[in-house]
Subunit: 188 residues, 2 copies
Amino acid sequence: MASKGEKTRADIVACAKKLFYEQGYERTSFSDIVAAAGLFRGNIYHYFKTKDDILKAVIDQHLDDFRALLTGWQALHADPKARLVQFVKMVVSRERELIQYGCPIGSLNTELGKDRPDLQQSARALFDMFRDWLAAQLEALGYAGEAESLALHLLGRAQGVAVIAHVYHDAKLLHAETERLEAWIGQL
Amino acid sequence: MASKGEKTRADIVACAKKLFYEQGYERTSFSDIVAAAGLFRGNIYHYFKTKDDILKAVIDQHLDDFRALLTGWQALHADPKARLVQFVKMVVSRERELIQYGCPIGSLNTELGKDRPDLQQSARALFDMFRDWLAAQLEALGYAGEAESLALHLLGRAQGVAVIAHVYHDAKLLHAETERLEAWIGQL
């Protein structure tokens, strides 16, 4: 059972994760997180000294969440192609958030990649996780020599879908593009 | 000839355009712009009251720049397919900035689309401009019924290329992906 301290820490991370996603990292202040977690400012310092520290914990939480998702997909499908399709279905299933806020990992890296190289290096691990998992499926499909390149292609295509659906806040656009992506997987 | 006032205004917009691109909109303060333009704070208020006002002028500047670019491509190539390839070549020619800062119009919309709907509506005009121009080329190629959908697909693909190249700060990745995009245009 989690201790009270562990629960408070998890609450802070959950609130920050939501705010960073819905508003952006720079736009979210330390005070916003304190307020959202319903804490006194002094209490949060027991867990995190800076907003950058909170971000690192948020990235770890994203990594845990996505690792669990990938493990679930592997249990669900033995066929590597079905697993790749599952990746696209994730995009579709998150339609509402993607349209409103963009891709959580893409928009975070886009923001940090401009002039926070230290933090972006941490955030990039989220892309690495998907790239490596997608590449493993592509290798299993017989694309040994170009698995990483194709994995990055698929990841980039999914990013493009998220950007364009977010720019136009348009679910129909998201569906049209994810269908194209599924067709691409079908041809593999 | 531009008046001194017009020149000062253009300087402010140029400095803000660079800062918004290289750091992000939220991360750039009004004071950063004042300092970069080498002005006293009081002087800038003569031209712009708020950072949001400056952003609108920056978007107008982007629109003017890209309009000039599209006009140039039309003069350069009569063939609609060559014009589409030129769009991809623009991505390649901006390799250095794209890798370092991402796509200027994509990253701006990604940031504003989260919780600045008023400003993002202005910024979206940059996507509209490319979408309409690409759709016109696709119509000329005989894709009348699906020109807009294909234009958004191409725009999304280019966004995906920019995101992935920026996340990994990798020129080779950018080239691999733009080659795929040129191949896609070749098949049209």
